[in-house]
């Protein structure tokens, strides 16, 4: 039985490597399970349909739409200008601006794409202008974009709550601690690294007179208010009992349209139409993939893979530390080959019984899965956020790979380890709110 599952996973990896469109990768793996694993397909489409119409799932398309709108309605530009006020004068400051802006955008957006999609087109050229290598600039914006999944609201946490029956709000709060630490580590690495580039300049700030600067800053603050009010509306709305996290995604989209049209005036009718079309295609691409991912994961459940996994792992060792390391490596590998949502849907139900046996609380595990799978977006071969970053930053894989790996290994992986072995980091906030 497990041989079939192992073969199926290999097949899935092969299909992924062959650049088969993702819905068909999972569809192919599903076909294999149906034909060789004895999983009946008769009611599978019925089951899949009923999973797909879950009101929770609609968070994902709504966040895709909101993210695409936010990317082109001027919100990012004004947030960047705002953050620039505080660190613009420091050598390497623009890098910190990138990280911090991605974190703020993360507080409105539920996905890992929005940060790079919204800030990349403005920030990367500006950084290149100031003497940063193109690959470095792109890598920094791309890895910071992952914060969108760690700073709530976060679509993977909505899914985690859904598939594991855990409080979504608690899951949201669990990754805030790790997220903030990553903002700090990325900023530090960037500040150190910036000094190693020979030609880095400070841009316009260095040549602006102090008095003009004050005036300019005042203007920037005022212009940033609508953008800054968005996270307040979204998070305030969720925690203030006005709307659910899923509804927040719809509200985020609906609110950013008038801001784009009438406040920042960067949204025009034709642009809006193309944004909507673009979003619809992205939504279709993601959701058709999710359907077959769900069905594939159901065939694993039918074959009782979670129970078998527990048995195998506990036969290897019962040492909690070793098992947690194994789980982390496993999640890292999962993140390499599938995207965050897929990984969450596929793996959370498989591993939750195991970690429960280990005495890990579901909320703590939300953070462990969150930090691991969020990283998946930038770890090749399947690195959707990284590829998007490359497209936006107009740079080659070979240019972006090294700086990305440095940020991940020195700035991200340590936080993953910390999250895994220091429960308070993720449980502190949920406990404060009485949720864990």
């Amino acid at each position: 039985m497990l041989t079939i599952v192992a073969l199926d996973v290999i097949l899935l990896v092969v299909l992924l490597m062959l650049s088969i469109p993702l819905p068909y990768c999972f569809g192919g793996a599903l076909a294999f399970m149906a034909i060789f694993g004895g999983a009946s397909m008769k009611s599978m489409m019925l089951w899949g349909f009923n999973q797909m119409i879950s009101p929770i799932l609609v968070a994902s398309p709504l966040f895709i739409l909101a993210g695409t709108i936010m990317g082109s309605c001027g919100i990012a530009k004004h947030l960047l200008n705002f953050a620039d006020i505080f660190v613009g004068k420091i050598k390497g400051g623009i890098g910190v601006v990138a990280v911090v802006t991605c974190a703020i955008i993360g507080a409105i957006s539920g996905s890992g794409f929005t940060g790079v999609a919204a800030t990349g087109p403005i920030l990367i050229p500006r950084m290149v202008e100031q003497g940063y290598p193109r690959g470095y600039a792109t890598a920094l914006v791309t890895v910071s974009s992952v914060l969108g999944l760690l700073i709530p609201p976060s679509v993977i946490m909505i899914f985690y709550g859904w598939v594991t029956d855990t409080s979504i709000l608690a899951a949201f709060l669990s990754t805030v601690g790790p997220g903030v630490l990553i903002v700090i580590t990325f900023s530090i690495i960037n500040l150190i690294w910036a000094h190693k580039f020979p030609n880095v300049s400070l841009g316009e700030i260095a040549t602006t007179a102090e008095i003009d600067l004050k005036q300019r800053n005042m203007k920037r603050i005022i212009r940033a208010i609508p953008a800054l009010s968005l996270p307040v509306i979204i998070l305030g709305g969720i925690y203030g009992g006005i709307f659910t996290p899923t509804e927040a995604a719809a509200v985020a989209g609906v609110v950013s349209v008038p801001i784009g049209f009438w406040v920042y005036k960067e949204l025009k009718k034709e642009k809006f139409v193309s944004i909507v079309n673009e979003s619809a295609v992205s939504i279709g691409a993601i959701m058709t993939m999710i359907i077959f991912t769900l069905m594939l994961s159901q065939t694993y459940v039918l074959l009782r893979v979670p129970q078998a996994l527990i048995e195998i792992l506990f036969n290897v060792t019962t040492n909690k530390v070793i098992l947690l390391i194994i789980i982390n490596i496993f999640l890292f590998l999962v993140g390499m080959i599938v995207n965050d949502i897929t990984g969450m849907i596929l793996v959370a139900p498989l591993l939750l019984p195991l970690v429960t046996e280990l005495g890990i609380s579901p909320v703590h595990f939300a953070a462990i899965m969150g930090v691991n799978l969020a990283m998946g977006g930038v770890t090749p071969p399947y690195a959707s956020i990284l590829y998007l970053g490359m497209r936006i930053g107009k740079c080659e894989f070979s240019e972006i790979l090294k700086p990305t790996m440095v940020f991940l290994l020195l700035g991200y992986v340590p936080i993953v380890i910390l999250t895994t072995f220091w429960p308070s980091l993720s449980l502190f906030l949920p406990r404060l709110f009485g949720l864990a």
Partner: protein
Amino acid sequence: MGKFFEILGKIQEKILMFLTILIPLLVTFQVILRYVLHAPLMGIEELMLFPIIWLYMLGGASASRARNHIECGILTLYIKKEKSMAIFKVVKTAISLMISIWLTYWAYWFFTYSLKMWKVSDLLYIPMFFGESSIFIGLTLMTMYSAIELYDMIKNLLNISKSIKEGGVKC
């Protein structure tokens, strides 16, 4: 034939546009009804399921049409020769098409099941068939677009082979 697909594509695009705008507005509308007016409408969630599932499935079909599905894409970075690339694309598209046909077959099973059972929704008594049929129709469109893509890829491969034989293109 080309004209037909063009019109079909346009219709798809228009419907998708409508659905993509409708859904967030409906969700927001319900939030306002509930929070501001204290009078949430029963049945909005149920009503929503129809545009939602059609958005997913027609969106998937549009992604197929635009050849814009998410792919892993690692191997394509290493294929340099034009002809190898053309062969690779034929193989890849053929596999996708096979899988798509298999999935469509099972979606067809569900389509007939849905038609036979003719279930209605709990509150508004809307026939579920109007939602459930989206899976089959979406997958049928996806299969169709995959088939067109395969046809194009084969044509492309033949063209390249021909021009290589004639010595016109270096590879």
